[in-house]
């Protein structure tokens, strides 16, 4: 027995993926032509699985901002936020995020994943309780484990179960952090945040919302689910990422609790990892301006999302419960999902293939994510290909 033996099961599973010729979990985008087109396995494809909701990866102003920063500030910071890795741009972005959300405080981290690790493990510890939605992202689960807090899971979006669990905690709710996501990454469904906020108030708990997939997507100003649900004042901490609507990489937390600023000193993923490069920060700052100045991008995104969701629904496919930029198609078996994924790729469409446990409740999914940059013609082509493959999805 050696330390590598545990990987044998992975090797066996991977063998079952390879007969289709492309490992779906190791895809290389050989060329990238735009925010919606690239080349995979030598073939031009429509990118319909990239979380690039507003299509800003190729926004000219974002690119120019990054290029200018690259020339003036160099390729990287080579240090953590706590040491030499905080440039004026990092602080400016924090102020701009705070202003955008109408909050007093903001912190920028290096990725969305380490934002959750850093925030949750800094805010909670032994003696505290975390009550998290069952479908929470892996970064949230890992952060909860790191925190040492008691971890309690409630059934996905089930407010009866959430209340039952809060009620059982009694006075411990004062030291309880509820964690939900604005839009859930796999099925694309939304948290019932108004109800979560009401329960938080009723039981005197705290609440954190991960807006990774909802920032730039929901709310009149693109601030996410808390804005859309009208509960921004009730949410204690909002976390998010720069790697989806903002088209780059990094993460953040905003809050009206002044103690957020102290998290910088205790959050290990803030203290012990290099900060985002200056050019990344510059492109994110510009993307944040675009989110605020071009609400038409959100309108277009939702037009595209509705076009795809309704089109797939008409085909009788089993979809995630809520229309939105993430459209998940349930497929009967892993084998059928793998075959369908490869068939789509062969016909010039890249989507995400998701197997359990990444997909909830033992489902296999073809996960599409739509962008404001997709054209109606691209979406209609996706629908046409799906309609020709209908038999691939059923039992």
């Amino acid at each position: 027995m050696g330390i590598l033996d545990k990987l044998n099961a992975i090797a066996t599973t991977r063998q079952t993926l390879l007969p289709e010729g492309v490992d779906p979990f190791n895809v290389v985008i050989e060329k990238i032509y735009s925010s919606t087109e690239g080349s995979i396995a030598g073939q031009k494809v429509i990118l319909a699985g990239t979380n690039n909701y507003l299509g800003l990866t190729f926004d000219q102003q974002c690119i120019e901002a990054a290029q200018e920063s690259l020339s003036k500030e160099g390729t990287g910071t080579t240090g953590s936020r706590m040491a030499n890795g905080t440039f004026s741009g990092h602080r400016d972005l924090e102020q701009e995020l705070a202003l955008f959300y109408g909050c007093s405080n903001a912190i920028v981290f290096s990725t969305g994943f380490v934002t959750n690790l850093g925030m949750i493990s800094a805010l909670t510890g032994p003696g505290d309780v975390i009550v998290l939605d069952a479908d929470s992202h892996a970064s949230i689960y890992d952060a909860c484990k790191m925190s040492g807090a008691e971890m309690i899971r409630f059934r996905h979006n089930n407010m009866v179960d959430l209340e039952k669990k809060l009620k059982r905690l009694g006075p411990r709710t004062a030291k309880t952090l509820i964690i939900v996501e604005g839009i859930y990454s796999m099925l694309g469904d939304c948290a019932p945040l108004a109800e979560v906020a009401a329960l938080k108030q009723k039981y005197g708990a705290w609440v954190m919302v991960d807006e990774a997939h909802s920032m730039g997507v929901l709310g009149d100003h693109g601030r996410g689910m808390a804005e859309a649900a009208g509960v921004e004042q009730e949410v204690d901490f909002i976390v998010g990422t720069f790697s989806k609507s903002l088209g780059a990489i990094g993460g953040y937390c905003v809050s009206n609790h002044p103690e957020l600023d102290l998290v910088r000193y205790v959050s290990r993923s803030y203290v012990f990892t290099a900060s985002p490069s200056p050019s990344t920060i510059a492109s994110v700052r510009q993307a944040l301006r675009v989110v605020q100045s071009k609400p038409q991008l959100r309108t277009k995104l939702w037009e595209n999302a509705d076009r795809l969701y309704q089109g797939l629904e008409k085909l009788g496919l089993e979809l995630g419960p809520d229309p939105g930029p993430i459209v998940a198609i349930r497929v009967a078996t892993r084998e059928k999902a793998l075959f369908a994924w490869k068939s789509l790729l062969d016909q010039g469409i890249y989507v995400n293939l998701v197997f359990p446990p990444a997909a909830p409740a033992g489902m296999s999914l073809l996960r599409c994510s739509i962008s404001a940059a997709h054209t109606a013609e691209q979406i209609d082509y996706i629908l046409k290909v799906f309609s020709e493959m209908q038999d691939s999805f059923s039992n």
């Binding site: 069952a134 909860c144 008691e150």
Partner: protein, 84 residues
Amino acid sequence: MTTTQYHDIFKQVEGLLLRYAPQQVPIQDDTNLINDLGFDSLKVMDMLNEVEDVFDITYPLNDLASLHTVRDFVLQIQKIIENS
């Protein structure tokens, strides 16, 4: 917690395990949930939902790290009932 109470919980857990376990083997105190019954993380979560309903308890995910055998499971449930 008395032996009788342990036995009562064991009988209820046995019924649940037999319904959820991918591999059907006789349930005994030292039956291992993964190696003998074939549970994976998803199946365990499904079963825990029902355990919570049946016993009207909250099962902390932290306890999963020390859950190996049926005896572990019954004792964990006993402890949660006692503390609730």
